[in-house]
């Protein structure tokens, strides 16, 4: 009986140590994965921010607000974000009305960025321009 008890304790100890090792391995992999993700995200966010700035400075957002024709905006986005899935939305901040929605729904992982245009020469209310881009292909 005591022999069986001893074997049970040994078994319990083996199981516990196995769990501990597994847990430690998981912690390591999760934390190292997060480090890669954060670094990549910072660089990517910088790039997305610059893309949005270029899009705005070249006047594509203002042109859309003036003409309500998104064709040049779409062309510019396809040049600035080649082969990258995106979704661009423009929202009126006073009325919460959706002014424009371009692109397709994005699955995770994705990156989201936005900026505000408080006073455009072509639109009365402040607007929020938001872009969501797919992060597939940027994780490594």
């Amino acid at each position: 009986m005591s022999k069986l008890k001893a074997q049970g304790k040994i078994l319990e100890a083996i199981v516990a140590i196995t769990f501990l090792i597994l847990a430690l391995i998981t912690i390591r992999s999760v934390s190292s994965g997060c480090t890669i993700l954060t670094t990549s995200k910072g660089t990517l966010r910088d790039a997305v921010n610059k893309v949005m700035f270029l899009l705005d400075t070249y006047g594509h957002i203002d042109e859309y607000l003036r003409t309500r024709d998104p064709i040049n905006l779409e062309l510019a986005l396809s040049k600035l974000l080649p082969n990258i899935h995106y979704k661009l939305t423009i929202v009126d901040l006073n009325t919460s009305q959706l002014i424009l929605e371009l692109g397709s729904p994005i699955k995770t992982p994705f990156l989201e960025d936005y900026y505000i245009k408080p006073r455009s020469a072509f639109y009365n209310n402040p607007i929020l321009v938001k872009i969501i881009i797919s992060k597939e292909g940027y994780m490594q």
Partner: protein
């Protein structure tokens, strides 16, 4: 001794649960903190706002000067400060804006002159340092064919924080004694244009015309062309 193994199992299970629930939660929050790291991204966002204000002001005040640009843009920045705080969590100080320009600038026929608006924003409290220059070189000349045509060669570029941007000119017109004459813009290359204006009255009856150039972003530059 009897419960030692069981305690170890419970401890291991606790670590497993912690690993799969708490750590991803914490790391997500860390990424959220990374998202709000404004140091590198806010400069472009504020530059967009300042360009908006510049476009809004130069469009509303076509014959602006340095003082108008400084005052109106500072007022706009102050009036929208709640909006910036709500979205960017920063308070932009209007006293940190400095605009210099050489407009109004008289450009003589067959000579070249540079027009510019230089806008900078420097904030010591938050890490923003924006420098933007909208620069245009204007060379007017006259060609006389069937009609007398004022021909203006223009180069037009933006420089924002060492980023050179080629924002297209989309509109050009001259004010000839109160008559507005729109020009035909021909793009020669990325940054240079030739603009043709058919003059509505004989050249010898004109001493000067005011030239306005508007870009796709909505910013207007202006100058006086001396036809004497």
């Amino acid at each position: 001794m009897k419960f030692k193994g069981q305690i170890l199992i419970i401890l291991a299970l606790f670590i497993l649960i912690f690993t799969f629930t708490i750590i991803p939660l914490v790391s997500n929050n860390l990424m959220a903190i990374d998202d709000t790291n404004i140091n590198t991204t806010l400069e472009y966002k504020v530059a967009s706002i300042l360009l908006d204000y510049l476009a809004y002001t130069t469009d509303a005040y076509r014959n602006y000067n340095e003082s108008v640009l400084n005052n109106v843009i500072a007022t706009l920045l102050d009036s929208d400060s709640n909006l910036f705080y709500r979205y960017y969590r920063v308070t932009l100080s209007s006293s940190n804006i400095l605009i210099t320009t050489n407009i109004p600038n008289v450009v003589a026929l067959y000579s070249s002159s540079s027009l510019y608006i230089k806008l900078s924003y420097s904030d010591n409290k938050i890490p923003i340092n924006i420098y933007m220059l909208i620069n245009s070189s204007v060379t007017p000349s006259i060609i006389s064919q069937v009609y007398t045509i004022l021909l203006v060669n223009v180069t037009y570029v933006y420089v924002v924080n060492s980023l050179r941007l080629l924002v297209p000119l989309t509109k050009a017109y001259i004010d000839v004694n109160g008559t507005i004459v729109y020009g035909y813009i021909e793009r020669n290359d990325d940054s240079s244009y030739t603009i043709y204006f058919p003059l509505p009255i004989p050249l010898n009856q004109l001493s000067e015309v005011t030239l306005y150039m508007g870009d796709k972003r909505g910013v207007f530059l202006w100058c006086v062309i001396s036809l004497v």
